[in-house]
Symmetry: C2
Subunit: 397 residues, 2 copies
Amino acid sequence: MQLGRSTAGFAALMFAAAAWAQVAPQPPAPAGRGGGRGPQVVSPAVGEDRRVTFRILAPHAESVRLSAGDIPGNGQGAPLTKGENGVWEVVMGPIDPGAYRYNFNVDGVSTIDPRNPSISESNTNVWSLVYVPGADFMDTKEVPHGAVAAVTYWSTSLKRFRRMHIYTPPGYELGKEKLPVFYLLHGAGDCDEAWTSVGRAGFILDNLIAAKKAKPMIVVMPAGHTSTAGFGGGRGPGGQDEFVNDFVTDIMPYAESHYRVIADRAHRAIAGLSMGGSQTLNIAIPHLAKFAYVGVYSSGLIGAFGGGRGGTAAPAPQGPTWEEQHKAELDNAAAKKGLKLLWFSTGVDDRLITTTRATVDMLKKHGFDPVFKESPGAHTWINWRNYLNEFAPQLFQ
Amino acid sequence: MQLGRSTAGFAALMFAAAAWAQVAPQPPAPAGRGGGRGPQVVSPAVGEDRRVTFRILAPHAESVRLSAGDIPGNGQGAPLTKGENGVWEVVMGPIDPGAYRYNFNVDGVSTIDPRNPSISESNTNVWSLVYVPGADFMDTKEVPHGAVAAVTYWSTSLKRFRRMHIYTPPGYELGKEKLPVFYLLHGAGDCDEAWTSVGRAGFILDNLIAAKKAKPMIVVMPAGHTSTAGFGGGRGPGGQDEFVNDFVTDIMPYAESHYRVIADRAHRAIAGLSMGGSQTLNIAIPHLAKFAYVGVYSSGLIGAFGGGRGGTAAPAPQGPTWEEQHKAELDNAAAKKGLKLLWFSTGVDDRLITTTRATVDMLKKHGFDPVFKESPGAHTWINWRNYLNEFAPQLFQ
């Protein structure tokens, strides 16, 4: 439907803009927001040459650094330079197109960019987010867009409310058809929102679906951490992994009872990055009959081969090895039959490359036929977005 | 569906937790996150007595204040006290149950709480968010929950991509029925995400629907700012308000063509807070035949009566008044017939109370029959959540 345009009447409202600050907003604007409270700071500023200028107003600071591990050359945290107006600045790049998390470290205090409303969430902190356009597969383009919903569910296994993000493809909210479902797990530095913000998952799927490279699918992105302790699932009674329990007891049942999904093996995929790749294997191998497509990004069975330290020496795990614990499942020929894709990719500069290789070799030993692509790059979101863009088109074909 | 539980195999993975930090996450953890980098900081800590302790590690700071305008008694920004370990702390409250935005101001730099992953977005900045439980109507309860989706759409009037948030009630993703639609607008200190985070709109609707106090409905929460300049819609060619154009040309058509809505007047409502209340009137009055329910929270025609400054003297608006500009629409008796509710509420301590009163009086003069409830309190989210909880049950009955 269309409404006629309203051409009159906002003059008075707009007129009051200056007055507005006196009655709203509550709470007061933060320092650094400008508006007569110091210089107007623009940050981040993305140039057409893909150089990005980061700025922060910190007149009393002694040292400001940029925390942005994915930005090439910023491993150590580039120092910002203070201007006479108290605004610190650093120019990075040219930076390859993509989404980059960053924060400022001001005299030892980590702060997001006070001038940038775009953020990416993690398990115990929040990052500012800058997007450098120019990557055809993940740019926001004039194609039909899906929706990414934040969903609150009660975890019966964890006895508390949890959140997941669920991507629905263009047209789902109006449609009636059932779709395949893809469970996509995040890494240790992330939360259930990360694949949506820094991961660009929704836009990557929108573009793939518009180009008919990928089938329309529901993408379920759960929260892989069960505590703020920092590494995935803690262990519940009986030593069970809390996230695996949450996934099999609550997340899958919730998604498949609240969305129009084709709930069979041929229409169910699972993948994860880093920590989520290990979780993927710990969910999929014991329940192989449930999944036709399995993806492991920049990961493997972390720790299972003493590779958790990236190939440096690590003490042998206590008790039986992962392989010994899963021998029956690994050698179940019947369950392997319906497995259409077991896909690994890790960067050659990623310290988990040895873990990936060891995991792939072990699986081959047990009769699996994994695809393993060693890519350029390291343990960064740059690779994980590429892997999703390469993996999703192989699903449900 | 249920999967069998995975009882084995995470030992090795969990074993590697310590090793993990060496290979992931990228980017590095921010300062203040603990993990051997200074004291473990817990913030915010909500006590059972509803006292909230805010903490931040800032060993080199000279001054730290709490920016949290909605927290009673924090109007000026409570100072934090530095401990010997470099951790600054302040205890506030007891605080009434609810969601509260806050940031720290560290030596003049506004920073979110580095230890709190919960945030609330605004137009030009981001806030940390703390929830103090105990309010039955907005707590996260064991009731069926809807989903809140971030939706990207192309604004033909603004010629760029825009985002809105859309609440779908429990069962929508699986259902077939058409539902009424409620357009809910934010204030000048917010963005399209604010009603979801600090506004608790999804949880308020979940609870109302579970208690059968409100009808299941779609709630569309668009972005009311069209620039970072700070106040709502800028003015496009011909002086048209950009947000009103975006709303009538793109937002309503998008929502009503992508979701199962009953697209008639009797099943369409609109409301907004503060700036969004003025926008509501500037959309609804010229298009009254499209809306059966109209709500104005803590607002009115801001500036139209020189009341934009909260009752202090303001120069008269140039040109014809809002009333003069809208005389034909205000006196259209036929259009009034299908208007089932015109509802205003503003706090007696809100500086916009005079604007609300003047707007209500003007509308009565033209034959409208508005409901106007003067509530306790001021221009804060405390009132806006209450107003939504009071307004939504009156819709579509």
